[in-house]
Symmetry: C2
Subunit: 555 residues, 2 copies
């Protein structure tokens, strides 16, 4: 098993013993700063319950079915322990954490299976079909949209969580074609380590990189922080194998085809609804010799967006581009503030910046290159500097980018720390054409602020652009608000609904890369149209006529 | 109507009065050269019949249905004339031309409709559903795989060809997002002209560019000669509207989404089976200021393929790359030979080339840049030269590329000219990972040669690479063989079957960009798998439950 349960937090982000890495002074200072910025008293919730305090209903599986599943997956591949059942009950969204901390587990799987081969996956689906059990494919379990919560349809006799993390082998490398085939339960670090030993890399770095799997990336149409350089998961996928209840769907490894609709695109975004993704062939790259990150300050979000847009269109070979709006920039500045220092250099710098026109609207842009040679890196950074300067950009050197790269997988730990202090953090995201980017951003930030004020008394809303295309970009939103511990789920739901309405009303897509899950389902028909969705549901019904696979969700 | 029927050849390629543009001397010389190379006597077929010699069965449509269709499309939008019915009976494959020249039209539509609005398309589908008529969407009619031939299912009362070419408007341009929305019946030249008046361009240049439509490009997953620079049609497509018998399917214009499977990819490659594509939004580009083409000679196909692969992976900003194998290179050299000149300079040059190691295996590579500035053009050409030289490439300057660009839409006219002289030309194409490119090419060329020798006594087989990707490339094959006028269809069918078997057996995809149509249908299950195909068929059945749309083909 590539992810050892006993090393992971069952009710929070990531690994035991890891944290956001703030010093005690910094923690203290940040807590004060946040309550000052939120201008609202905070009510820390009761401390999280222990796993031993959680009572689950007994498994609904008969001893025969349990024996059959044990037979298919081996003793090590079957569990009805409270820890495994609870760990497979949720993803890692804000409402997931709220419920886990309270020990409130309304939907637990009746068992968790860990098949170690394609044959074992097929056996589990056969047993589930006979016993009328729902099957929820589970990779890293990092869904933030309720994608892995085990729901059952009326009449289903129970639910299995099918954990794919034992399917974690490198199957083959085709060096000449620069492709690699993996079993789909491999996680980000193991996949990159396997490639690195061949001098190769994939370059898919979602925020969940350390705790998510290849199969999960494909199932959710994931996109990583280096999408400017390496594309999103659909750009990487060459071919795929899926075990569905009716048999195997596989696609041919070809660089391109015109043989009818592309079946890879029925699998990409299928969110567990058509079967279990067991294997995938991916485009890989030579590991870069040079990695360099830079920061740049812009006077306004509009200037920053123009730089990102122009650089994308000009084909500047950047791996990463990330533009923070003024609020997020201000928070980063605050996080970089060192309360231990007697003389705060940033205050002096700030006043100078203001005089140069980088006032409250200033936005930080981080960008990075990953290239084979210094020459290529220099060239891309030079091009970027030229584009940036034409929009009034001021170079900030290497340190902001370095800080971002160092901390990029640690930010989610901050969420647990904030929750402990009574601050809820939720994130929203969308994508829109360039002509609507500012309009969508403004509407959604206003919507977040309004929703937080109504339902939480206050809010701190931020946004950034982290994926850009010739025709548009993603928008990622972060909202901090005072938690109401007596009413936290309803509070979250109200805010989520209002912000999602704001996104959809402004013409943004429901999700750029989080997926649909349970949380975006109510808006899906508006985005895809009833008829288009019906067509997808028919395709699903052919692969899974009894509706075993991740029921009650996408299709 | 953007394509005036009276300016087009009804039984051959393209426009009346246009030709391959060979002088009389050159024609004479080429005919001799071909019969010398084929080493086989040629039997010119009887001259093509006139349109007035073709007898079609009367339309099966009642006067009521004809009146209803006239009501939906207007008098100018309805025809039962022999010319329109025959012109909508075939695409432009070799067997299509063979039958047209003989006046053998086994499947003619009972009427042709030319709806001029989305509403009119919907009305036609409603009338067809009520009257139980098959509907075959028809754009430019340039299919070379039998994609537009009107077939009906048992029990259907007749067939309508639905010509989309009156849906030819530019709907809107979003300059900030660099996208343009068109009605889908617009043809290549009209689309580029509309964009050019805004300083923009699309860059989609299939061989059929002058006689194919946007909707056809999407329906067939088309890819053009400048795919290195601008991508294939799926890279250009942002959003689409399709009128299906059950209603409208439309997608949201977003640069990217993670809201379940991408419905654009159900439309791309649907080949008329789910409805009529009426509108599409596309990514467009600034029209380039600089267009430069170059030629390079390599000592072997393997060297050339390595140059194409390395340049693609290095991201050299080329719009076009086209590598001919040794046979195709030799034919181009012959076509450039000028029989009017007393002193043939090429013979002397050839002997020099041989001494430098560019012998019978030499391959010509043509590549071109389309850039905003001379500086970018120079940089890309310099990078390409460096890569080429590292594989023994010899620069040939600008003239081979210029000749290719000038003649690129004229080559299909040569096919008619050759048919007149008893030489059949068929083309095959596939794509494969780089690790299999040489193996696939060798197997298919051997397969073509063997099939031609068995079924035609002789053959001249050639290939080129014209679309390249980081992980693989396309392979395009041309086969010339002596026509057997007494048995031409069976002769074609036998060769087609054997070559397609060779492609599939070698692991190539059934089609890189021609599509499936009738001709590749027998192999489709092997490529996509029975279950994957069944899922697509279910999706189709939801949009077209009675099977009206282009029946008997893809889905």
């Amino acid at each position: 098993m590539s992810m050892r349960r006993d090393t992971l937090r069952w009710n929070g982000w990531g690994r035991l013993g890891e944290s956001a890495g703030l010093s005690r002074e910094r923690e203290h200072w940040l807590a004060g700063e946040l309550s000052r910025r939120l201008r609202h008293p905070l009510s820390p919730p009761p401390p999280p319950v222990g796993i031993d305090q959680i009572r689950l209903p007994p498994t609904k599986l008969s001893t025969e079915i349990q024996a059959a599943l044990r037979g298919a997956c081996g003793d090590a591949g079957f569990s009805v322990s409270v820890l495994e059942r609870v760990s497979h009950s949720f993803g890692r969204s804000l409402p997931d954490l709220l419920r886990l901390r309270r020990g409130d587990v309304p939907f637990a799987p009746d068992a968790v299976v860990f098949p170690a081969s394609e044959g074992a996956v097929a056996s589990v689906l056969r047993i589930a079909a006979e016993a009328n059990l729902a099957v929820i494919p589970f990779g890293g379990g990092s869904s933030v949209v309720g994608g892995v919560e085990p729901r059952t349809l009326r009449g289903q006799a129970g639910a299995l969580s099918l954990d794919t993390t034992r399917l974690d082998a490198l199957v083959r490398i085709d060096r000449e074609s620069m492709t690699a085939t993996f079993q789909a339960g491999i996680d980000g670090p193991a996949l990159e380590a396997a490639l690195r030993s061949h001098g190769l890399m994939l370059g898919h770095c979602p925020q969940s990189f350390e705790y998510s799997t290849l199969g999960g990336w494909i199932a959710t149409r994931s996109s990583g922080q280096s999408s400017s350089g390496y594309g999103a998961i659909e750009d990487m996928l060459v071919a795929v194998r899926v075990v569905s209840p009716e048999g195997v769907v596989r696609t041919l490894p070809a660089p391109r085809s015109a043989t009818g609709p592309d079946l890879n695109h029925l699998v990409l975004g299928s969110e567990g609804s058509i079967g279990v993704i067991v294997e995938a062939t991916l485009r890989v790259h030579e590991a870069p010799a040079v990695i360099e990150d830079r920061g740049m300050l812009l006077r306004s979000f509009a200037d920053g967006a123009a730089v990102v847009r122009d650089a994308t269109r000009a084909g500047v070979r950047l791996a990463v581009m990330r533009l923070s709006d003024a609020s997020e920039t201000a928070l980063f500045e605050a996080l970089r503030h060192d309360p231990a220092r007697r003389f705060d250099v940033s205050a002096a710098a700030l006043s100078l910046l203001r005089r140069m026109g980088y006032g409250d609207g200033r936005c930080a842009l981080i960008y990075g290159v990953e290239t084979a040679s210094r020459r290529e890196a220099r060239q891309a950074l030079r091009e970027m500097l030229r584009i940036g300067r034409s929009r009034g950009g001021m170079p900030l050197g290497a340190s902001p980018g370095r800080a971002w790269r160092r901390d990029r997988y640690r930010t989610p730990y901050l969420r647990d720390w904030l929750l402990d202090r009574g601050v809820a953090v939720d994130t929203f995201e969308t994508a829109a054409p360039w002509s609507r980017i500012e309009g969508v951003r403004d509407s959604v930030v206003r919507g977040m602020q309004r929703a937080a004020e109504i339902h939480a008394g206050a809010g701190l809303a931020m946004s950034h652009v982290s994926h850009s295309y010739a025709d548009g970009a993603s928008l990622y939103f972060t909202l901090l608000y005072p938690l109401d511990p007596s009413n936290d789920l309803l509070q979250w739901e109200s805010i989520k609904r209002e912000v999602t309405e704001a996104i959809v009303a402004a013409g943004g897509t429901l999700s750029h890369h989080h997926g649909v899950g349970l949380d975006h389902l109510p808006w899906l028909t508006r985005e895809k149209g009833a008829l288009g969705l019906a067509a997808l549901r028919s395709a699903r019904a052919t692969l899974d006529p009894r509706g075993l696979m991740n029921p009650g969700k996408l299709l």
